[in-house]
Symmetry: C2
Subunit: 262 residues, 2 copies
């Protein structure tokens, strides 16, 4: 499979919407002249897959010709599986950067935890690959990705020009669904405490048996102006630096101080 060109950065691209989606094509187009791009992405929609991995069954991976001369593989796995397969079986090395997306729809606030797009990017960051997940706030198949492509290009060029000190560098980038000239800038944010207030739609199948379908209304419980939800509402691109150490250090200190569980 592929060998890297030492002069050009190797850019791994993946997503969760599936390899045929316009979002991943836009991502490839935005950066294809910046480095050697290799695409490894799911062969079917994998939205909401979170950090799922396939352990109880085998995976398939097939070469596809979808992006001209750019090497591309579709896999039967989750977005996280795609990153693992890319490193071990396609690149045989760590790429210089991993980009995930461009997701059709928002991945701000709590969505970072459910998102296959962001979980793929996080998997790369766990492996020590600087990584960015990109999402556009438009769920439609025919979304206009042109403003998003300009943002992606700007951010990737800047990132590749830097000496990144953090071995697990990861950003969650969301792009408002407005024309480029209306975008006020790129704002570094924190993750808002905003989430879906969920309900299950209760239905009956043709055999008379009950089934449930997840539905919900998005609610922002976070009034801060330093959050991704605030930034997006005000036509900024939001960029949240993300970590995978989930330790709640403040709670740890409190429990230790109060001598719980002794």
């Amino acid at each position: 499979m592929s060998k890297s060109n030492p002069k050009k950065p190797v850019i791994l691209i993946t997503n969760d919407d599936d390899i045929t989606s316009p979002g991943i094509r836009s991502l490839v187009e935005a950066v294809s002249d910046i480095g050697k791009v290799v695409v490894v992405a799911p062969d079917k929609p994998q939205s909401g897959m979170g950090h799922a991995i396939t352990i109880g069954s085998p995976l398939r991976m097939n070469k596809v010709k979808l992006f001209g001369d750019i090497e591309a593989w579709q896999t039967s796995g989750t977005p996280v599986d795609c990153v693992k397969l890319a490193v071990d079986k396609v690149l045989h090395q760590k790429p210089d950067i991993c980009l995930s997306g461009i997701n059709h729809g928002a991945n701000h606030s709590i969505n970072v935890i459910y998102s296959g797009t962001m979980s793929a990017a996080m998997e790369a960051s766990i492996e020590g690959i600087p990584s960015i997940g990109f999402s556009l706030l438009d769920y439609s198949y025919d979304a206009d990705f042109n403003p998003a492509k300009a943002i992606v290009r700007k951010m990737v060029l800047e990132l590749l020009s830097k000496k990144i000190k953090d071995p697990h560098f990861l950003l969650n980038v969301n792009i408002p669904n407005v024309p480029l000239k209306k975008i006020k800038g790129i704002k570094i944010c924190k993750q808002a405490y905003a989430k879906y207030d969920e309900e299950f739609d209760e239905r009956v199948d043709p055999q008379g048996k009950k089934y449930f379908w997840l539905t919900g209304v998005f609610k922002n419980f976070d009034k801060g102006k330093d959050t991704d939800v605030w930034a997006l509402k005000n036509n900024y691109v939001s960029a949240v630096p993300i970590q995978f150490d989930l330790t709640h250090y403040q709670l740890k200190k409190q429990i230790e101080k109060e001598n719980w569980f002794k």
Copy 2:
């Protein structure tokens, strides 16, 4: 479906190994006299499902009689789906506490991110339900859950006796696979940077087509004595307080200071 008894705490129990596993039975047995227990768990193994949710297809949920008089439901969903269904369709309210497990196998260090057991507990914590995920360091079906049951009971009783200030209280508890008398205590820890060094086993199916199966060797890159991996190696129960705000505040500060993406 169920209504709560105001005198007894309502305890929601779920897992990722599936509703028939000995681990969830042990969890039910450990706390069944402490409160009103309701079980909502997957109808098939869901290990490694992370924070996956089911959005593109409907869910089924059926009542089962597996735990004597205790109300129990099996669902076709992921562990996170189970928690959502439990709150919206079974309990019609938030339980006083959510317990997930007891997982057959470790969920320390980076595993917290891939684990269905911990993702279910995290989902409850996002909803404002104090929650603990329990895992025993023994993958076998015939594991001895008796020491783990004693630990679970002690921790749940203590937790229920406290005024928990944190609205999203969440612990990742791992229990070493040793007799109770060898357990040195419960240690509050941070998540170790320890992970699987993964490879895919490459195989050929009976039709001559290639397939891949995930495999790997566990490696600890974290030399600290304050980590869950260290605690477990030294026969302590590890308890890591967990948060779902993934913002990397230190990196945020650095990027802001250096004026990136302007």
